[in-house]
Amino acid sequence: MMKSESTAIDVPESSAVPKGKASLMAATRDAKGGYNKGFAIFDFILRLGAIVCALAAASTMGTSDESLPFFNQFFQFQASYDDIPTFQFFVIAMAMIAGYLVLSLPFSIVSIVRPHAAGPRILLLIFDTVSLALNTAAAAAAADIVYLAHNGNSTTNWFAICQQFGDFCRKVSGAVVASFASAVVFMLLVIMSGLALRRQ
């Protein structure tokens, strides 16, 4: 009788304890995934904004031709981005950066869908860093030429061409501002990728 009582012991709690631990682990993973998902969504939106900025910069600079209404016997006064090699570099660099941003949108979507994957994030971070350097270089070089065009330089006897070509100057300055905006967006993208990697 004692034996049958001693054998009829059931232990209901041992199966529930691992389940409780598993649900606790799932809850913490979801909380960490929530932050990473927020970073990834913000990253995607910033990338869309940067595409707009880079395309605007490249197209504004590319269509900045101006011909002055007066001309003399020998030549007509024209200005276009073609005449200054720095501006050519600017247009090519901004077009490349806009193309890279469009191609990186799928990777950004993958990192939204899978918040814990480190591979796409590291890839995006590597290429974003290189694009930041290219973007800043093109923007700064073009800004320097625009500064010269506005102010000239007395020591080197370089004349300020903005005094003659007003429209050209305005369009070119607007393009440089747009490319600096895209550079700031790239900085934010790199920092956010770093923060998301930290929370792995």
Binding site: A79, D83, A141, D144, T156, W158, I161, I191
Partner: protein, 212 residues
């Protein structure tokens, strides 16, 4: 004879006992270091390698930016045929872009010198995450600044070499030879610093993403 041999054997045994004690002490120290390392997470070697490379690249970037700043700030050239009214003198001050270049390079080299202790801390402590993310944020900002200063100066150096026919800008390198050479050379150090910064950001990110 027997006494001698006993003495000899006794000294040999003593020597071995001393050697054994020494070996025991050494192995104890080694085991305690290993346990200490495992407790504090210091035995993960891939991150330590990355941190050492990070430190060395930082030193290289300091040399590059500081060299570029000093070479640019010490350029001046006076042509031998200066007259009383027209002065043929070129200095880095005359072009505001070069002033920006010198200032930016000094700022960036100062930041790099201040971040070297942080990088040494990252070598010692491999699992540090907060210092690495701090380094990424500041490295990104400084890289943007350095690239902007270096490429603005590069645009002016290009103009000085080639000139521009449409805008009627004369190429001053044809007159000022040594000035031109020095400003072109100082750009190299600065761009080495830019490449080093890209590498630093990548190293910090890869070290952050490894699970220890």
């Amino acid at each position: 004879m027997r006494g001698h041999s006993y003495k000899y054997v006794a000294t040999q045994v003593k020597f071995f006992i001393e050697k054994g004690k020494f070996l025991l002490i050494v192995s104890n120290i080694r085991m305690s270091i290993v346990e200490f390392g495992q407790a504090k997470g210091l035995t993960s070697t891939p991150n330590r390698g990355l941190a050492i490379v990070d430190f060395m690249v930082r030193l290289l970037a300091v040399a590059g930016t500081l060299g570029g700043a000093i070479v640019m700030a010490s350029t001046e050239e006076t042509l031998p045929f200066s007259t009383q009214f027209v002065r043929f003198r070129a200095e880095y001050d005359d072009l505001p872009t070069f002033t920006l270049f010198v200032v930016v390079n000094f700022i960036v080299s100062g930041y790099l010198l201040l971040s070297i202790p942080l990088s040494i801390f990252n070598i010692v402590r491999n699992t540090a995450k907060n210092t690495r993310i701090l380094l990424i944020i500041f490295d990104t900002a400084m890289m943007g600044l350095l690239t902007a200063g270096a490429s603005a100066a590069a645009a002016i150096v290009y103009l000085a070499h080639k000139g521009n026919d449409r805008a009627n800008w004369f190429a001053i390198c044809r007159q000022f030879n040594s000035f031109c050479e020095r400003i072109s050379g100082s750009l190299i150090g600065s761009f080495v610093g830019v490449a080093a910064f890209i590498l630093l950001i990548l190293l910090s990110a890869v070290a952050l993403s490894r699970r220890n």
